[in-house]
């Protein structure tokens, strides 16, 4: 019984259309190239600084020469380019993952404020997913198989489950539940004060409008949400719902607090129910099914969106009408979630 469940979870549960994976492949490669993981701007400083020492990956005190770093940077860029085009996709993915791993080992010893290094594993794991079997040079002239191996996605789901749950565990250890701090509020206030996000520098109400108990409840809810990710990855439906929640959180962090969560979001996209999209008619038409015909709700969503934009452009109004500011932002988030729910129908095993 248990082994049948395990077989299903590993090999069938996270099955997804290969074209969805191909889309992710293109987006990921574009992001790597655009975001500059390989820090070309720092290359000159590193290579020219003769006093520099790299605490490499177990390479001892003598460090790593600059030319090695330059060489791996170029390899990484080449791999990202090949991944974008879908040429030798599996090996390009692995080369990209290894280049990123090497670079994070280098950069982590000398810099702070890098993007999260967890996502290095994403191209490595996805190299086995067959994400080069559609919309790529590798797949040219061949029929597209509707589904590919599901186990890489199951493995990635487990990685995400561990990552998020371990983050929650660290938050628990660091005192998020303690009475002396309201951590989310402090983060939000700090980000806003230092000029990040949609309400930057304006004394956003997000930071101050809730009662301390309300913020504390958010802290508790947030830690609980993080901790449930690990058991959730064992249940496809629950995991997909949790992923939606995480995407909504990322959306909020990005637009409200100015944090770069795009890469995080990209790596979560494989777990949406892509069967809701009819790829045969892509990109001419996205198959939106069962869009609610509740005119009033659509009207409210539209007004909320307009209000939110207005608050962005008129910060003084946001301070004057805090409730409307928070409500409009919240309704926009809800609208995005609702659209996602309907457009990418959550279905077990889909």
């Amino acid at each position: 019984m248990l082994h049948k469940w395990f077989d299903h979870w590993v090999f069938r549960a996270y099955r997804v259309d290969v074209r969805a994976l191909a889309l992710l492949r293109v987006l990921f490669a574009l992001y790597v190239l655009w975001q500059g993981f390989f820090r070309l701007d720092l290359m000159g400083e590193i290579v020219s600084n003769s006093d520099w020492e790299f605490w490499g990956v177990g390479l001892g005190e003598s460090g790593v020469p600059g030319w090695v770093l330059a060489g791996t940077t170029l390899l990484g860029l080449l791999a990202a380019g090949l991944l974008l085009l879908g040429c030798w996709t599996a090996w390009a993915s692995r080369l990209l993952g290894l280049s990123l791993l090497f670079h994070y080992a280098m950069w982590d010893s000398i810099a702070t404020g890098l993007p999260n290094g967890f996502w290095i594993a994403f191209p490595l794991i996805m190299s086995w997913s067959g994400w080069g079997q559609a919309w790529s040079i590798d797949a040219k002239g061949e029929d597209v198989a509707p589904h590919v191996a599901a186990w890489p996605l199951a493995l990635w789901a487990m990685c995400i489950g561990f990552f998020v749950a371990a983050t929650g565990w660290q938050h628990l250890r660091m005192g998020w539940l303690g009475a002396q701090h309201t951590v989310l509020m402090e983060h939000a206030a700090g980000n806003i004060h230092f000029g990040k996000g949609a309400f930057a520098g304006q004394g956003c109400l997000m930071g101050y409008n809730l009662e301390p108990n309300g913020w504390k409840a958010l802290d508790l809810a947030f830690v609980a949400f993080e901790l449930i990710f690990l058991p959730a990855c064992l249940m496809v439906r629950a995991f997909r719902i949790a992923i939606l929640g995480l995407l909504a959180f990322n959306f909020g962090m990005c637009f409200l607090l100015g944090q770069d969560t795009l890469l995080f979001s990209l790596a979560l996209l494989p777990f949406l129910a892509w069967s809701g999209i009819n790829f045969e008619r892509w990109p001419r038409q996205i198959a939106l099914r069962k869009v609610p015909a509740w005119g009033g709700l659509i009207l409210a969503m539209g007004l909320a969106f307009l209000a939110w934009i207005w608050m962005l452009l008129r910060p003084a109004w946001a301070q004057e009408w805090p409730f409307i500011s928070v409500l409009s932002g919240g309704l926009c988030l809800f609208a995005a979630l609702l659209w996602l729910w309907n457009a990418y129908k959550i279905r077990r095993g889909a």
Binding site: L2, H3, F6, D7, V10, F11, L42, E45, I46, N49, D51, W52, E53, W55, V57, G58, G60, E61, L101, Y104, A105, D108, S109, I110, A111, T112, L114, N116, G117, F118, I120, W151, A154, L155, M158, C159, F162, F163, A165, A166, T167, W169, Q170, H171, R173, M174, G175, L177, G178, Q180
Partner: protein
């Protein structure tokens, strides 16, 4: 030629059996004593080599003597005996070889105290008592059982422990508790093994009329002794020994939790097979593999984490002795691709769990290599969860250098973060870089500044200041705007 030699030793003389099933645990006793005695990697490597030689020599002598004294009996029974097919010169050569391998390490390297020499002598004496006429304890019931348990398990273990204790710095004061627990437990393991062996040979011995202890006791009584006496007593003593290990080695012993998990995954999830139901199968799977494959890992991993050069010792063990990694690789070769994928999930699960527990996961960085390569790198300030640098001028006010952080160039950040906290950089090395950053911000030239690093560490539910770090220094400041 090499193949024939290997065949002679491993197959015909049956030395592959003790090498595969007894030596892996036996060699772990020296590993533990190497750690407890603070021996260097070089001393450990020499001791390891000498141990392998003496184990091979002593085991070889035992099997040699047993086959040599059983020649007539085996010939009459039609059983294979290697001595029957070897010329005299080869037999003599083998004897000299085994004795040389067994004794020379003691002449040239191992300490020859009265206790070690007594135990070595006892080992050889037990071999002779067991096999050689007129004693032949193997035919004398319980005497044979105790003799076998002694020479095969208890005496070698205690001898190895005492030898390496003598080689170390004698700092392990409670070594006698460890050795006592080891000797008693290993003795019971030997008794259990010989009783099981008798149980397996019962039908054959009954047919040939050989009056072994097993035949005299009868199947039912033998089974009762095994199930209700020998095995429970062995397990109790094993738990006592394990408690000694945990007491000394600490949390690394949690690695043993992987043992039942590994079996569960391999049997139930990968192979979809039930666990063995017969006694020998269960003992082999749940007990013997724990002793042979998993227990040696504990002192080895502890050593490897204390000094990177001990990884070579780990590598030597993985190459020469049966181990969990080798067995897993052997299984991997036999499995089909989907079985390998399922097992890979288990390995990934363990890696992710260990990394999560190690505290290397947080929302800002992911350093998988830290867990694996920490022993290879000098201290990167890992004990510091947060570092605050203060520059204090003229005794009036403190400035947090953390505020300057975004403006500091990467080399300087590195030196501050890792150099001072690990004690590998002096403050005056960073002084020049820090000075230029401060001067850029406040102008003028700085003098009279003190540099202090505070050490903050995680405690449950909050931060706690633990004190100052090493690395005080000073910069010169000669005034400027906004002087502190």
């Amino acid at each position: 030629m090499l193949r024939k030699v290997a065949q002679l030793f491993l197959t015909r003389l049956r030395l592959s059996k003790p090498w595969r099933y007894k030596a892996p645990f036996l060699i772990s006793v020296p590993y533990f004593m190497i750690w407890a005695g603070g021996m260097s990697p070089r001393e450990a490597a020499i001791g390891f080599g000498m141990s392998c030689a003496t184990i091979f020599g002593i085991a070889g002598f035992g099997y040699f003597l047993n086959d040599y004294t059983d020649q007539e009996e085996d010939q009459a029974a039609g059983k294979f005996n290697v001595m029957l097919s070897l010329p005299r010169w080869a037999i003599g050569g083998l004897l000299i070889l085994f004795l040389a391998l067994a004794i020379l390490p003691w002449i040239f390297y191992f300490p020859t105290t009265p206790l070690t020499l007594s135990l070595l002598g006892l080992e050889f004496a037990l071999f002779i008592l067991y096999s050689a006429p007129p004693f032949r304890f193997k035919e004398r019931g319980w005497l044979g059982v105790l003799c076998d348990a002694g020479y095969a398990h208890a005496v070698p273990g205690v001898l190895a422990g005492i030898t390496f204790y003598e080689l170390g710095d004698h700092s392990f004061a409670e070594h006698w508790i460890y050795l006592l627990a080891l000797g008693l437990w290993q003795g019971m393991v030997g008794i259990r093994n010989i009783l099981l062996h008798m149980r397996g040979d019962l039908d054959k011995d009954s047919e040939t009329g050989t009056q072994t202890l097993g035949v005299r006791l009868g199947r039912k009584r033998l089974q009762r002794i095994l199930v209700f006496n020998a095995i429970p007593l062995e397990l109790t003593l094993a738990l006592v020994f394990l408690a000694c290990l945990i007491w000394q080695l600490g949390p690394i012993c949690f690695v043993l939790l992987l043992f039942p998990l590994n079996h569960f995954v391999q049997y139930r999830l990968v192979n979809s097979d039930p666990f063995p139901k017969e006694l020998e199968g269960r003992l082999s799977l749940w007990i013997d593999e724990l002793y042979t494959l998993w227990l040696p890992l504990l002192p080895l991993l502890t050593l490897a984490m204390s000094d990177a050069y001990f990884y070579f010792l780990l590598l030597g063990h993985l190459i020469l002795f049966r181990n969990v990694l080798g067995e897993s690789l052997r299984n991997l070769r036999q499995w089909n691709p989907s079985q390998r994928i399922k097992y890979a999930f288990f390995v990934a699960f363990i890696a992710l769990f260990m990394n999560g527990l190690s505290g290397e996961w947080d929302s800002d960085s992911f350093r998988p290599w830290h867990a694996a390569v920490q022993p290879l790198k000098p201290d990167m300030g890992a004990e510091y969860d947060q570092l605050k640098i203060f520059a204090k001028g003229g005794g009036t006010r403190e400035i947090s250098i953390s505020e300057l952080w975004p403006e500091l160039p990467f080399p300087l950040r590195n030196h501050i973060l890792y150099g001072i906290s690990s004690g590998k950089r002096k403050p005056d090395e960073i002084g020049a870089g820090l000075r230029s950053s401060l001067e850029k911000r406040w102008g003028g030239q700085f003098e009279g500044l003190e540099l202090r690093a505070e050490k903050w560490i995680h405690r449950p539910f909050g931060w706690e200041w633990e004190g100052e770090a090493e690395g005080k220094g000073s910069l010169d400041w000669k005034g400027g705007k906004d002087a502190p």
